[in-house]
């Protein structure tokens, strides 16, 4: 009975067919590869002025229209990615049932007709008769760890075996991994955001500045379903997103690699001491973050990404004063550059003459050399001090963050450098990406799938032993869906063993 197909079925059938074509996959792979090049040739996401320096205004207009300046997020590129994924998904769904039935199908003995169609087979005469031949074959199969079945009919025994059926799944695992990566990326774009936050030492914030707004929020607010929590700032054009908690930078430090005469100018690590507070101002936890070791809270991650000096702001010099003898940890003294403070425990006034960004003490002469650093990075902050008793200047000395020698400390206490605090900000990259675990699952499957796909193969092996007047004729036939050469090597070795 023939039923009339509706338009919907017809169309969906067509669409399915279109997407199940491997030709489309090849075309899409090539097209994706080619158009991806455009975005590497034209720099992405630069300010317009820079493009105008590079190209004529007409070209800039055309490129702008085509979305070439942010190509990987342009609608047509995303559409191509969608098509590719749809293609992959349909292709996989279409073939999967067939693969499954190929895996499940029980192996049967082979008949003469089917044997003819097997391209790889060997035949040999076995002297000792059929029973002996069978014993030998069984032994050979067992020593190779083949699990096999056997059937016998008059004048013929068949041993047959298959292995690696599940390797047929390898391709699907691989394809699913690519689909997962794509789904994960989409999830991230819809429900995640990317932003940044520059926090001065001692400052806190409850918002971050967005580079990419979550698409879902945008969509919902455009549709009027719900209001986006993003705060638009028409003046700067940078949108802010409330975090729902406070983040504070207590301290920021850069460590430098040490050379033979003090620190080199090469940073070995940046770190920020961060504290998370709830909106009521109660402290939740502290964490010291580094590059490669971020802070995570409520799905939001803070990465150490950069740092800088806050223009026009002077920091505070933090010193430690403790007695030369005894276990005492001493006390902290905080000074402005050029300022002074009376320290009761030692009955002295300490005056900070100023801070230099990079000093080093000569190990033998004790002389301090000051280096001009190219920017105002505090490679090895060095503070000149003048010590007073009342109004009377006693001596001057210099303390350094990293000191190869000993600062001059004639009296019964030691002053040491602790920090130059408050003049710098830490640059944090802030993201929320709920899709990342989907992507990582995809990566994991990508490690596994291809191994099965490439190195496994579904092999089938038949050994037919026919009795011909007391002589046995042994036929070995084998098929594999992949790695034919390997199969041939194995079967040749087997045949050699049988004919010995």
């Amino acid at each position: 009975m023939e039923t009339q197909k509706g338009v919907v079925e017809l169309v969906s059938e067509r669409v399915w067919k279109f997407f199940s074509s491997v030709k489309l996959a090849v075309v899409l792979l090539i097209v994706l590869a080619i158009v991806s090049i455009i975005g590497t040739v034209i720099q992405q996401n630069q300010p317009v002025e820079q493009y105008l320096q590079e190209y004529s205004p007409a070209t800039v207009n055309i490129f702008e229209f085509l979305g070439f300046f942010d190509m990987y997020h342009s609608w047509w590129f995303v559409l191509l990615l969608f098509l590719f994924t749809a293609n992959l998904t349909v292709c996989t769904l279409e073939r999967f049932p067939r693969a499954l039935s190929a895996i499940r199908a029980p192996l049967k003995p082979i008949d003469d007709e089917a044997l003819k169609a097997v391209p790889f087979k060997k035949e040999l005469q076995f002297k000792g008769g059929a029973d002996k031949a069978e014993a030998r074959a069984v032994q050979a199969l067992q020593s190779r760890r083949y699990r096999f079945l056997s059937t016998s009919s008059p004048g013929m025994v068949q041993l047959y075996s298959q292995k690696g059926a599940y390797s047929r799944l390898g391709v699907y695992i691989t394809h699913i991994s690519i689909i997962l990566i794509f789904v994960g990326a989409l999830t991230g774009a819809f429900f995640g955001f990317k932003g940044f936050l520059n926090l001065g030492e001692g400052e806190h914030s409850q918002v971050v500045y967005l580079r990419n707004e979550p698409m879902w929020d945008k969509l919902m607010s455009v549709l009027g379903v719900s209001k986006s929590s993003v705060i638009q700032d028409p003046q700067s054009g940078v949108a802010r997103l409330p975090l729902g908690f406070f983040i504070r930078c207590n301290d920021f430090e850069v460590d430098y690699y040490q050379g033979p005469s003090g620190p080199t100018g090469m940073p070995s690590e940046y770190h920020s001491e961060l504290t998370v507070f709830n909106l009521q101002g109660a402290k939740i936890f502290d964490k010291r973050i580094e590059v490669n070791d971020p802070l995570k809270y409520r799905g939001i991650t803070f990465y150490q990404s950069s740092y800088g000096t806050i223009p026009g702001v002077n920091g505070k010099i933090v010193l430690n004063v403790r007695p030369k003898s005894g276990e005492s940890k001493g006390e902290m003294v905080v000074l402005d550059p050029g300022g002074e403070a009376y320290v009761r425990s030692i009955d002295r006034t300490i005056k900070a003459l100023g801070v230099s960004a990079f000093g080093a003490r000569h190990t033998s002469t004790g002389e301090i050399r000051f280096f001009q650093s190219r920017n105002d990075e505090l490679v090895n902050p060095t503070v000149g001090l003048e010590i007073y008793q009342g109004k009377k200047a006693l001596y001057t000395t210099t303390v350094l963050k990293v000191d190869q020698g000993e600062p001059y400390m004639p009296e019964g206490y030691v002053i040491s450098y602790v920090d130059y605090w408050g003049a710098r900000y830490t640059g944090l990259q802030v993201t929320r990406d709920p899709g990342v675990w989907i992507v990582y699952t995809g990566f994991l499957l990508l490690c596994i799938g291809p191994i099965y796909a490439f190195f496994g193969s579904h092999q089938k092996l038949w050994i037919r032993i026919q009795d011909r007047k007391g002589q046995a004729v042994v036929t070995v036939a084998a098929t594999a869906n992949r790695n034919r050469l390997a199969l041939e090597r194995q079967v040749n070795a087997l045949v050699e063993e049988l004919s010995k």
Binding site: V26, V41, N292, Q429, I451
Partner: protein
Amino acid sequence: MDSSTFFTFATLFYLAAMILYISFLIFKKEAVGMAASGVTYAGLAIQTLALALRWIESYKLGIGRVPLSNLYESLVFFTWSTVLIYLIVEYRYKTRAFGAFVMPVAFLALAFINVADISADISPLVPALQSNWLLYHVLMSFIGYALFAVAFAVSVLYLLMDTEDRGPTGNLYLALGVIASVVALGYILTGMGAKVVFWLGVGVLLLAWFTYLVVAGARNRSQVYLFWSFCIALVAGMLLFMGLDYVLFQGRHLPAEETFKKHMFESTFLSSSRAVAVLCWAGVLAIFYVVWSQGLKLRTLLKQFLPSPEHLDDLTYRMIAIGWLLFGVGGLAMGAVWANSAWGTYWSWDPKETWSLITWFIYSLYLHARFVRGWKGTQMAVISAVGFMGVIFTYLGVNLVLSGLHSYGGL
């Protein structure tokens, strides 16, 4: 003794191996072949020792990091993995025919490091690179690169064996003419500030040719012949001129990374002297000419040594399958995981990432063409060679060409 002494020993062993493998091809004495293999094993052992020593040295300097993160180390490691893979192939396929091709590359690369006095200092790592992912990422990508290089060499040999017919000499002159005019046009357009147009044009031209080869390669043999000559001339020319450039260019006293990223080819192709640039291009054309016209002799010579074309095809597939997997997992996925742990984005479409992806797509295409459409032989070898050009571009071109395209800021 320090690691660099051992590297020098390894270089000498590879030189000996190269001479032995070539003598083996010419004199066909089994004993010479055995000696060649023996010397190569010894060279690899020495180089392995040197790598281990360098690793230990970095700990002694208080830096403690994998010897895999500057130009010096990457060249050394590239050589090491190429020789290793070669020896595995030699063992598995029982043929010494490739040695005469692989060992010169290994020797030249190591010798180049010595001649060019590329800085062997063990420099510390910037914070973003201090991650265990660096080890896995770089290690796997490099082995991937090396596998693709071997696949490339084998597919070029396949193509060489594949074609007896190189067509009329007119083909060669046409090709030389095209190269000469494209280059001239390049200089003119660059002078006019239209570099982008030029490179896009070159890209389109190459793509059209590659597509033609893949579609019609099995039929039009003389184009295939031209193609492999082009491949050999490209790689040989590039290696030669890179070496020359290092020797000539004062910039080699700059930190190696800097030279490599910003000043490559400045004393040869990009020399401010017209005469030098013209001479260099004449050199490229000459290499192309020689390769093209001597190819058939090479073919006759090699024919008796090489495994059957079917084996070459299979070998290419194996190298690509493993390389594709390592590069996909190590280069793309682990690179992404690392980027995410350091910066909070696993993929940012920067040119290096994008080109890696493009290269990986080309090899994905190879795998699908083979398994789904059942392609074999010539077309596969062409795709493999094109894939390797993607590798070269990812490794060098992104720094050389792309960063040169933008008047403002490098990459």
